[in-house]
Subunit: 303 residues, 2 copies
């Protein structure tokens, strides 16, 4: 009896297909990043590869998209985007992801505002955020992967000083100002023309209007990707890893940081300038420009 009750409660809470909606959101977000338009085909295997999943879950997501009117499917012909991923109609699908991030964001906020102690027990978190053990488990795994919480040897977890320190944001930028230019200055740094072209194209799309349609989160993500791609040229995974980690934590601050579109526009123009110099293989100069780019204090939120 209790088993039946709990399963009923569960499916009620999930509304039947939370997972599918989540997957739909992932697909839509990907389509957006890739700059796809209404009418483009959504090829299962390609989506699966891009999202590191198999076709089965992709399928679920596609069906959910169809149900939401964002994709059209015909038998044996697969699915096609019905709306531009940047249009307002696509918002609800993306919201599904956002909803699942709710608790995560709450915790992040509470830590940043010191409403949570350094050391916490799982039971405490379960109570406080009304989570099942499994849900919390996944959440903690994720946060641990992002590097701002770690298991204690005994019971409980401890938040990293990286998040709890009041000056974390400035520290993060100082760290980036060291590793990013240094990566470019590595002796075997190299960025292929194709990569440069792709990066340039994306930055230009932003300037040509897409910036206005994006959420803060997406703008932040796009900025991170740009920098990561550049750093990737050093061919040293440790630089990339380190940058990813800083960015994961900076993201926690991102939501609250002041963002002015003009400022961003200037920022993106600097990105384009950097690409020019990199294309000319003037790496020393590029490193210098990047260092300056990162020391600009006003643009912490989106660089």
């Amino acid at each position: 009896m209790t088993a039946i009750d709990s399963s009923r409660q569960r499916s009620a809470r999930n509304g039947g297909s939370e997972r599918a909606e989540h997957l739909a959101g992932l697909i839509m977000a990907l389509a957006r990043r890739e700059g796809m338009k209404a009418g483009d085909r959504l090829i299962e295997q390609r989506l699966a590869d891009a999202l590191d999943l198999s076709r089965a879950p992709i399928r679920l997501g596609l069906k959910a998209l169809e149900a939401a009117g964002l994709a059209r499917g015909e038998p044996h012909r697969g699915f096609v985007l019905a709306k531009n991923p940047t249009s307002g109609a696509a918002q609800p699908a993306l919201a599904a992801i956002r909803r699942s991030e709710q608790v995560y964001a709450n915790i992040a906020g509470d830590v940043l505002a010191s409403r949570l102690p350094f050391d916490v027990t799982e039971a405490e978190l379960m109570r406080r955020y009304d989570l099942s053990r499994a849900e919390l488990q996944r959440l903690l795994d994720r946060i641990a992967a992002e590097g701002w919480i770690a298991r204690l040897p005994g019971y409980g977890w401890r938040f990293a000083e990286t998040v709890s320190s009041p000056k974390a944001q400035a520290k993060a930028m100082a760290f980036r100002a060291v590793i990013e230019p240094a990566a470019i200055a590595q002796p075997d740094f190299m960025l292929s023309q194709e990569v440069i072209a792709r990066l340039r194209e994306r930055q230009q799309r932003l300037l040509e209007g897409e910036l206005e349609k994006m959420t803060i989160g997406e703008i932040y993500h796009s900025g991170c990707e740009f920098h990561e791609q550049i750093i990737r040229g050093a061919g040293n995974p440790f630089f990339i890893e380190a940058l990813r980690r800083v960015n994961a934590i900076r993201r926690l601050f991102a939501y609250r940081s002041f963002t002015d579109r003009d400022c961003m526009r200037r920022h993106i123009r600097e990105h384009l300038r950097l690409l020019e110099i990199l294309e000319a293989q003037q790496y020393a100069e590029a490193a210098e420009l990047l260092a300056k780019h990162l020391q600009r204090p006003l643009v912490q939120g989106v660089s």
Copy 2:
């Protein structure tokens, strides 16, 4: 019936108090790092704080130490070290830790030698290393925390390219050669006299003979601690975090790297020289020396 069987099997495998022995090992290792001698008191609360545990598990460890003849306890007077932690008698306790690391080391070796594919499922690992789900879980958590494996969105885990790349070791050193000097060069770098004194004392103890009594793993650990303490002076947790991460991965290689005690001795003398310069607060010079120190290729295993 099955329940009884499995629990019997379990306690047989554990030999009754594996955990206690493990704790004993931790205490002994700590005593060793702290340079304690036979006759020193083992104060429960202090040990608990140092190991991030409460007194209860410490107690267990102390009793195990007593059972092994490494500590002596009297009622209401607590425990006292019975042997020097560097003596041969202390070895068995430390071995308990090493034993528990067996599977971890196996996996590390298999990954480094490409005997494991990039992507693996939990079930595969459970079969391969004969682990229960829970044991594997903890192991994966730890490896994930060290940053060389990550969950895939669907089933399975993926090893980081940081480990699998053949040039990982060189890349790791290149990364350190960037962040460590840069940390010292940070405008607000500062290292207190006490810290310098403590570090110096420890390095000197090594030169005065302790080096010979240490295992490769301990030597490696000691080197990492030295560098981490130095970097800590920058007051920027991101530098520390990044260094920790590189070191965690370098440790995987450490066991196989050639180590020559003379070479180490030279290395430690460089550490002492660095401390001198830091004490004089000549930070620019110190950064330069550290950069050189890290570019020396022969000593990768222990710097």
